[in-house]
Amino acid sequence: MKHKINELEDIAAQVRRDIVRMVHACQSGHPGGSLGCADFMTALYFEIMNHSTDFKMDGKGEDLFFLSNGHISPVFYSVLARSGYFDIAEMATFRKLNSRLQGHPTTHEGLPGIRIASGSLGQGMSVAIGAAQAKKLNKDQSTVFVLLGDGELQEGQNWEAIMYAPHNKVDNLIASIDYNGQQIDGPTEKVLSLENLQAKFEAFGWNVINSDGNDMDSIVKALHYAKSLTGKGKPILNLMSTQMGYGVDFMMGSHKWHGVAPNDEQLAAALAQLSSTLKDY
């Protein structure tokens, strides 16, 4: 372990402060999913992945991460800045004119840490598979991670990719599903049910593990275990239960905060629940 669990929890608390402050400052963006994935993203960047903040696009010899559900860019930007890819002060430019921190992540503005544009949903799994297959051709033993939203699985391209990866033994790939059961128009169950995701992925030939994405101990153990399953002929799926808005009580468990920014009072109420463990940007 590079960090103790409570140290990772402290970083995640600061990441959550960054998220609500970023979204508040520009009065737009997606706090719900970002907060729900703060523990996972912290575990990945501060504990699990071997990566260099001296950013190189090809990432040779490094573990790579792709964010398919690009709208949770605040959590991505926060972990990148907090791990040293760029100055934390730059978070103040989120979604503003001439910023490298676009509403959805992009390579177009040259922000270190971003390897593909995402936002139009359903494309990240395919890209991650391509990056994983390039690693195999390059005899590079490192791992490729991708995060997808659960609602995003309604996009058909995902199922093309989900079918392709086991057939081609892409076993250096760990996909995680942000399984929060919510999407813009309401609960996923009501909008378009995903039914039994574990059975679906297993039927396609994936090695499926489960985790609690808002319990740092659970997520760190799950990701270490997932890494131990690489190289065994199957892609790995981390089916990760999360709560949208986790960490801010009034944003939790509802789709209402999918894409809504807090006002001044709500920001104060949110920050009161999140201790500042590192310095605010």
Binding site: M57, D58, G59, K60, L64, F66, T106, T107, H108, R115, I116, A117, S118, G119, S120, G122, Q123, G124, M125, S126, V127, A128, I129, G130, A131, A132, Q133, A134, K135, L137, N138, D140, G156, Q157, E160, A161, M163, Y164, N168
Partner: protein, 319 residues
Amino acid sequence: MKKYTYTEKKDTRSGFGAGLLEAGKKNPEVVALCADLVGSLKMDAFIKEFPERFFQIGIAEANMIGIAAGLTIGGKVPFTGTFANFSTGRVYDQIRQSVAYSDKNVKICASHAGLTLGEDGATHQILEDIGLMKMLPGMTVINTCDYNQTKAATIAIAEHHGPVYLRFGRPVIPVFTDPDQKFEIGKAWMVNEGTDVTIIATGHMVWKAIEAGEKLAELGIDAEIINIHTIKPLDEEAVLKSVKKTGCVVTCEEHNKLGGLGESVARLLSTELPSPQEFVAVNDSFGESGTPDQLMTKYGLDSINIVEAAQKVIKRAKK
């Protein structure tokens, strides 16, 4: 009129297959992907030579574009292959976000473009692809005219960094360009120098433009014929220099007249050198089943259509 002859007919897609093999030999980072159309795309030779550098994707074009984008991140130079319709319209958003906006070095190689796909009909005959692809910022768009040019272009795009759309076709057509040509992206090819009218052609229409030039010569009209193989970036200097001399232009393409080469030329001329122009192109319609020759005749893409367009545009220029 400069004399062009040919000793054999071949399909442009075979030029792609030959070029892909060459590109693969030159650069070990070149990889190929195909969505269940290996035979149609003539990828067999590459696959035989480099089996570990070939990815059979299955009938899943969106996934193919995404995987290609991902492969570039590890330094690969991926060539995707499927029909033009499935290379563009079907996967436009994947190309837009994962390739063009992400500035990924993917070569989107598209066979069976246009009407000359023939009997399969309009579901497979895309006539909008040049327009779709040229509108994407940073995308290079190339439409080649014979086997040799397609082979040379395939080798050239492997050496160019950035996303490329390479469009070619199914039918066998005359092989009339230099087998040892160096393909320069964005550089027009002067097929025949003339003074009365500029004929600008791309793809399968270049040979038809040559046939038209011969007929026009018999009628006493000295046509300048230019092959624009790179629709984007357009060789503006070559177009302007020619039209300045002739005063009028006919554009020829196996594509909808909306959004194609003709419109790129018209946009340039309207701002720099307003001149009469005629379009030999499909008049905003879908295709249909038929033999390639029947379709080219029915949709007005024969050499006689170029001759008539030239005569018409010269009259307009003289007014």
